[in-house]
Symmetry: C2
Subunit: 297 residues, 2 copies
């Protein structure tokens, strides 16, 4: 298999994904306003890190990533629904996301809630319709079950609940990890796991892919916290750590900035060790890992 640089790979599949997302919503026979609302948030941009992980995992198995397009679209729908609901006034009450007005600011709270519901619901239909000539019903059913687990109370929703409950108190490192492993880690993990399931990975490979995704998810979150803090430092012009009024627990707060940077390196190392143990051609996944550690936004 030809080795491709991540950048070219990412560009190609991001475009494929975004075209597919639009196509999937446009073909629905439904009131125009709900389709507009769904497309608005699906097209709000972002790194598409979850679909990219899925495509790169399929690539690692020597499988054509295009075969997984509907699964990638389903995962991005779930991620998008979670952003729409998280931004609502009764949740995080955010007016802007990536510089654009949030869904409910444009369409109103009711349509935003329903657009989230619609994307979540549609994701299960979409992933069930992966090409029949490539994937068995057993495989697709396994994807449905794992996606529901990753997105539900034992995954993303559970993490969101714990995050809300933890907002106004200081957390232990264990509590902080519970939140991140569930709120962001489980769906990131499913993106990798789904690729493994689709490619017919054996139990040991699935185990190592899960381990990889676990550490990558934590790395992602630690880097998020570091960027928040470094960003804040530049903006507010005071030394890191002097702001004790923000009650929201973060890795730098619990570990110091240096400690958080060490923890990030540890997670990246563990992620890559898991990758190597799969015995696959994991160049793209490895590059994604480096990207997570070094990203500046």
């Amino acid at each position: 298999m030809e080795t491709r640089a991540l950048e070219t790979f990412a560009q190609e599949y991001k475009q494929l994904l975004e075209d597919e997302l639009r196509r999937l919503v446009e073909k629905l026979k439904a009131p125009p306003i709900i389709k507009e609302s769904m497309i608005y948030s699906l097209e709000a941009g972002g790194k598409r890190i979850r679909p990219l992980l899925l495509f790169a995992t399929l690539d690692a198995f020597g499988m054509n990533p295009k075969k997984g397009l509907l699964a990638a679209a389903a995962i991005e729908m779930i991620h998008t629904y979670s952003l729409i609901h998280d931004d609502l006034p009764s949740m995080d009450n955010d007016d802007l996301r990536r510089g654009k007005p949030t869904n409910h600011k444009v369409f109103g709270d009711a349509i935003a809630i329903l657009a989230g519901d619609a994307l979540l619901t549609y994701s299960f239909e979409v992933i069930s319709q992966l090409p029949t000539d490539v994937f068995s019903a057993d495989t697709k059913l396994k994807l449905v079950i794992e996606m529901a687990k990753a997105a539900g109370t034992e995954g993303m929703v559970g993490g969101q609940v714990a995050d809300m409950e933890g907002e106004a108190k200081s957390l232990t490192l264990q509590e902080l990890e519970y939140i991140h492993i569930h709120k962001t880690g489980k769906l990131l993990g499913f993106s990798v796991l789904a690729g493994g399931i689709m490619a017919g990975a054996n139990q040991e490979q699935l185990h190592n892919l899960s381990g990889f995704a676990h550490h990558l998810g934590l790395a992602f979150q630690i880097q998020d916290d570091i960027l928040d803090l470094v960003g804040n430092e530049e903006i507010i012009g005071k030394p890191v750590g002097s702001d004790t009024t923000n009650l929201k627990s973060t890795y730098p707060q619990l570990l110091t900035l240096e400690g958080a940077r060490t923890a990030l390196e540890d997670q990246i190392t563990s992620a890559k060790e898991n990758l190597e143990r799969t015995g696959l051609n994991t160049q793209l996944l490895s590059e994604i890992t480096d990207l997570v550690a070094s990203r500046d936004h």
Copy 2:
């Protein structure tokens, strides 16, 4: 097969369903508050008409209704999520449902939104885990797809959007039917269709079951509108039809009360004709149909 009266049948399966719903949520490893919120609304009562339709359809095929318990639970979870989200302040803003405070009045808007999300997500996991020794992966995948269609923008969510958009204007009979066919009809229809899919119905039987569910759904809604009006008449003590300030379109408003009663009879007749054409033992389904037409609440 022994012929059982609907009342006994309904009591037995309602209990089984309610025990199963509680068991399914209790076993989740998740923050207690979200499980409490899910159980609160799942246990808020109701006629459990959708699960009952599923059980009665399996019975019509001579299949043990217990085999469909997880599918019935999944459908009731979707129905319950839709009630929780519909009751939110930004939607219908209802403080009470069946005499109990609505979910968001007890748990707050954020947890109510997340409990709805959680129930919707879980429903797909639950229906995917129907007993493997009875149902093939193909059958379960078909259920996932049809459930997503019934619940999504081409079904229930689409109907809810149209309902909200139509609230402040007078609708044509066609527009009113679009709302009801989608908002309530599609999930009622899936309850029957799911039974047929699970029992291995042939295409003609599925067609007739769909027709049955379509007419039953409309009958259900027309009776709802009639009850609303008759209830209002008794409460407000003025003749039917004198209240022109309520802009919400209803069947009696569009057809007169007598016209609505005739339409109800027509739907019941059509529903039963479809049932008869299945050639199955549809006594229970027929009794459910009579119940819909004659219910007083």
